[in-house]
């Protein structure tokens, strides 16, 4: 979330799309209810189903799953055509005035530079025109046809209300009503918020779904302001924190881009990751990259990391290509993976295509499952009849199962969706011989380190020197670890030399050995260590900032500065300099947040700006971007600088109505598809119904089927279909049905409901099959099939998040 749960109270309009907050985040949704009651805020729900959020919304519009870009692109077109944009905000805070390169174009649904064989773009025609000074050329009148504003207008002019209705199945009047309600939010004294979740991410165009909405929020002038923002409602209690710690191949802790094969020298790596400003007087915060990276290496390798050896740059692994969950299972399926560790993760139920995953796991030499609960993954080799038809005698994988803690047994911090890290106590002793996750990792590491010390082996240097000065090496405490993450001074941290008097002694900002007060103190010379720069400030000399529990909210805006610690820098709304106009005054008196007081930036929050940068300097609000503004034209995206509608890989209409003649533009041209999976896609002739998976409020993933109370209230798996489809297929409420995709089938119960209606799309009727995914072949609930048997093995072209929200199935009564 750019904003926070408690900031939702400041909004005038809530759009819930790509999510179902009332069902999946019920307690957070109370802030929506509060805004509706106290501020008379309106709630819009746009969803394939009339869901629990729709039930309490002021307005509901249906949409076919997998067509959000068409809908939102239509909104952009409407806002531009009807001049419902916040002009001054857009001009100051976005790249609307920037000139794009002359060769850039979209032809038949594909942008310039497409290489079909590699499914990748050569992006040389994308991006901005640079002047001789290295800065972007701009046209403040926004009349130049090459400027981003005009390009945007041209791109979305094709997304007419008629086209939106044809692709999405949303009745035209309902679509226009949503546009009008959003358009009102372009007034400077109004802000609207978007709450989304996996309904947007789990598509082959997931990242672009979210980007399209972010562009709308920029056009309306809603980012960085109270009651505004782009707000991802994260799924797990600590999915945000683990994302920040970057348990990913491609980034190190704190979103530091990991070294690739091409970064053959340390200098080259730093150069790639440290951008130069693209406009004059910009903060360009990533210019600090070397401070963040070198300090991380000091945390990893301690004294062994020195300026002379480039802080052990050669010791950290270089990445070649992707290593996301689907890629890992593809390698496993090809027999290129020998071992696998699965910690608090049940991939058999959560990575697509269960049958492929089972076959892949059976090719491993060893599998280690670390989990508090018995999972389907740990038992993939067992025979559970038709639910898991395995033959244990044929599976040679050695499987270890290690008992770990559940939440109540571990002390430490969790980061909520608002980026606020909060400390929790250990409430109860571990059951049996279970151990906390960090202890298990420590035991394993210390054992490996002993073995390498005794026997030698491949590249032992990084193992021997990994900084491990914990009081109990086999049981590091969360307090020690959070202190390490926060970072400390290894030598005195000195103030920069005074340019007027360079030989004068420099002031000591932090003494050697002290905890750092924040990431501004990080240095690139080895004098600081920091495990994650974003969390610097979480455990300072004043103690554990995540354990603060003050309910003080001095402005009444829901800014609890002394409750926990929000990254970065305890900031509660990101980009909050944009809450003031270019001259530093609030956009409207009722939306006062951060402002320039004549000497410094101040207000309800920690300013997201150099605190002393006077507005006249023209420093932009988006300090992490080298251009200082937010991007309407973003070349970082795999499939194009402007989001374009592409059909799901399994499309119920078999054509992209925007580009009916170009099969290359049917589905995302840049999504990665492995060969064997391409063959496993189904066609609409055999699998005519569009399907999506989702959660129920009574269950959480595949965990709560192990809890009795949850099992009592939702005991058995089911799918939801419309009355129309039920009639067509002769299915009655409660009947057993077989739902099949080209990858497998499940047998379950049918719930026939008015909450689902067929759509009129591209002159045909399209039906939805809704599939809640909480059940499996283990648990207190009635055993059944994993819904994951049906799902396709393809993901978003940028994030590789699987397309769980749009695929094809057939349904038959059994």
């Amino acid at each position: 979330m750019t904003n926070s749960w408690t900031d939702i109270r400041n909004t005038d309009l809530v759009l819930v799309m790509g999510g179902n907050a009332a069902e999946a985040h019920p307690v957070g949704f109370k802030w929506v209810v509060e805004a509706m009651e106290k501020r008379k805020a309106k709630l819009i729900s746009v969803d394939p189903r009339f869901n629990r959020t729709s039930a309490v919304a002021d307005f509901y519009a249906p949409i076919r799953n997998g067509t959000d870009i068409a809908f939102l692109g239509g909104v952009i077109n409407w806002l531009l055509t009807n001049d419902k944009i916040h002009h001054e905000y857009v001009k100051f805070n976005t790249d609307a005035t920037f000139l794009t390169k002359p060769g850039f174009e979209l032809k038949d649904g594909v942008f310039s530079g497409y290489d079909e064989a590699r499914r990748k773009y050569d992006k040389s025609t994308w991006g901005y025109q640079l002047g001789e000074d290295g800065y972007v050329l701009v046209d403040d009148t926004m009349q130049d046809p090459a400027c981003v504003y005009q390009q945007l207008k041209k791109h979305y002019s094709r997304y007419t209300p008629e086209m939106v209705s044809k692709i999405c199945g949303t009745p035209k009047d309902k679509f226009l009503k949503v546009c009008e309600m959003l358009g009102e939010m372009s007034a400077p004294d109004k802000t609207s918020t978007i709450l989304y979740a996996l309904g947007w991410t789990q598509h082959t165009v997931g990242s672009q779904n979210i980007r399209t909405m972010a562009m709308i929020q920029l056009l309306l002038g809603n980012i960085g302001r109270p009651g505004g923002g782009v707000n991802a409602l994260r799924g797990h209690s600590n999915v945000q924190g683990v994302t920040d710690m970057n348990a990913y191949a491609e980034v190190f802790s704190g979103y530091l881009s990991a070294p690739m094969d091409g970064d053959d020298t340390y200098e080259k790596y730093l150069k790639r990751c440290t951008p130069k400003p693209l406009r004059p007087n910009q903060f360009n915060y990533w210019s600090n990259f070397p401070r963040f990276f070198n300090s991380l290496m000091k945390s990893y390798f301690g004294k062994a990391a020195t300026p002379e050896n480039n802080f052990c740059y050669d010791w950290v692994p270089k990445l070649e290509g992707g290593f996301d969950a689907m890629h890992l299972f593809e390698l496993m399926h090809q027999g290129k993976m020998n071992g696998f560790l699965s910690q608090g993760f049940n991939p058999l139920a959560t990575v697509p295509n269960k049958n492929k995953l089972s076959a892949a796991l059976a090719k491993l030499k060893y599998l280690v499952v670390i989990d508090p609960l018995e999972t389907e993954t740990a038992d993939f080799w067992q025979n559970f009849g038709p639910f898991n038809d395995a033959k244990p005698e044929n599976i040679q994988t050695e499987v270890f199962r290690l008992p770990s803690n559940c939440f109540a047994e571990e002390e430490g911090s969790l980061t909520n969706s608002s980026r606020v890290a909060i400390w929790k106590e250990a409430s109860i002793a571990l059951p049996g011989e279970a151990k906390v996750d960090s202890e298990i990792m420590a035991l394993l590491f210390v054992k490996l380190r002993e073995m390498y010390a005794k026997e030698g082996g491949a590249f032992p240097d990084a193992i021997a020197n990994l900084a491990w000065d914990y009081v109990q090496p086999k049981e590091p405490s969360s307090t020690e670890l959070l202190r390490e993450i926060n970072g400390k001074a290894l030598a005195d941290v000195l103030a920069p030399a005074d340019p007027a008097n360079p030989t004068a002694p420099r002031a000591v900002l932090v003494k050697a050995g002290q905890q750092l007060p924040g990431f501004a103190m990080l240095r690139d010379d080895g004098s600081t260590a920091c495990g994650n720069w974003l969390y610097s400030g979480a455990w300072t000399e004043a103690g554990n900032m995540t354990a603060r529990r003050s309910l003080n909210d001095p402005t009444g805006l829901g800014v609890y500065q002394n409750f926990g610690f929000a990254w970065p820098a305890n900031r509660r709304i990101l980009y909050n300099r944009a809450s003031a106009d270019p001259s530093g005054k609030p956009w409207a008196p009722n939306k006062k947040y951060e402002y320039w007081n004549g000497k410094a930036w101040t207000g309800a929050d920690i300013p997201d700006m150099m605190p002393t940068a006077a507005p006249e300097m023209g420093m932009g609000s988006f300090i992490m971007n080298p251009e200082g503004v937010a991007r309407l034209h973003a070349i970082g995206m795999a499939e194009g600088p402007f989001p374009e509608h592409y059909e799901p890989f399994e499309t119920p209409i078999g054509v992209n109505p925007l580009h009916p003649g170009n099969p290359k533009a049917l589905s995302n041209p840049c999504a990665r598809v492995f060969k064997s999976d391409m063959d496993a896609f189904g066609k609409k002739e055999e699998f005519p119904y569009s399907a999506t998976t989702y959660r129920l409020t009574e269950h959480f993933h595949t965990w709560t089927k192990h809890a009795r109370l949850n099992a009592i209230i939702q005991p058995e798996s089911f799918v939801e279909i419309s009355e129309e489809l039920a009639k067509e297929k002769g299915i009655r409420h409660g009947d057993s049905v077989k739902v099949s995709s080209n990858r497998g089938h499940i047998v379950t119960k049918a719930v026939v409901t008015k909450r689902i209606k067929p759509w009129d799309v591209n002159d045909q009727k399209v039906h939805l099959v809704g599939i809640p995914f909480h059940w499996g072949f283990k648990g207190q609930t009635k055993n059944g099939y994993l819904a994951n048997t049906l799902t396709p093995f393809v993901g978003d072209a940028n994030s590789q998040t699987p397309e769980f929200k749009a695929f094809l199935v057939n349904i038959e009564k059994v």
């Binding site: 290593f323 071992g339 959560t350 244990p392 109860i428 049996g432 809890a707 994030s799």
Partner: protein, 195 residues
């Protein structure tokens, strides 16, 4: 004194303690007016956070057991923490039922192994589990570790063992897990946050 004969005997039967209470000014009437104490008054309360969605509602967890040796701790009650500014004391249907998750019969309590081709789990000690896993990992790492790629660039990576990491452990466990994996040269790492 407002008591019948049976009650009188019960109070007297409490013996010296009761008489001393009277001597100290506590009358038996007041003692009798005291209802049975709530179990929660004997419980230890701690601050926790709901493990499910990322609203991360504050929770108060009440347990019996004083951490003395041979005392089995037991969570007896979980309720919303009214002093959490986001959740303000609320819990949803999932969070309200979290006691059954903590005490689930499906909790794994001991390390176990399923040998190749076997049809069952076999309980083993932690020492055996860690030693066997470490041997497996070392053998794979030593056999497949790449110090340089085809172009001669130092890459120091291990690609043949993968690791999917937890999204519900603490930030601290997560940080340490990543640190260990990177220290071993692993590149095949991912987390639930991706999906």
């Amino acid at each position: 004194m407002d008591m019948n004969r049976r009650q009188f005997f019960r109070v007297s039967g409490a013996g010296l303690a009761a008489s001393s209470l009277v001597a100290l000014g506590f009358s038996p009437t007041a003692a009798l007016a005291e209802t049975r104490a709530f179990k929660l008054t004997h419980a230890t309360v701690s601050h926790s956070i709901c493990p499910y969605c990322s609203v991360s509602c504050g929770m108060l967890i009440y347990k019996l057991g004083d951490e003395a040796k041979n005392v089995r701790e037991r969570v007896i009650h979980v309720e919303g923490d009214p002093d959490n500014p986001v959740s303000r004391g609320s819990l949803c249907p999932k969070g309200s039922g979290v006691l059954d998750m903590i005490n689930s019969p499906a909790r794994v309590k001991y390390p176990a192994v399923r040998e190749p081709g076997s049809k069952e789990w076999k309980r083993i000690s932690w020492d055996e589990a860690i030693t066997r896993i470490a041997k497996r990992m070392k053998a794979d790492r030593d056999a497949n570790f790449q110090t340089k790629n085809a172009a001669g660039t130092t890459v120091n990576r291990w690609t043949t063992t993968g690791f999917l990491m937890c999204s519900s452990s603490s930030n601290e466990s997560s940080y340490l897990t990543v640190k260990v994996a990177r220290g071993l040269g692993m590149v095949g790492i991912d987390t639930q946050a991706r999906v």
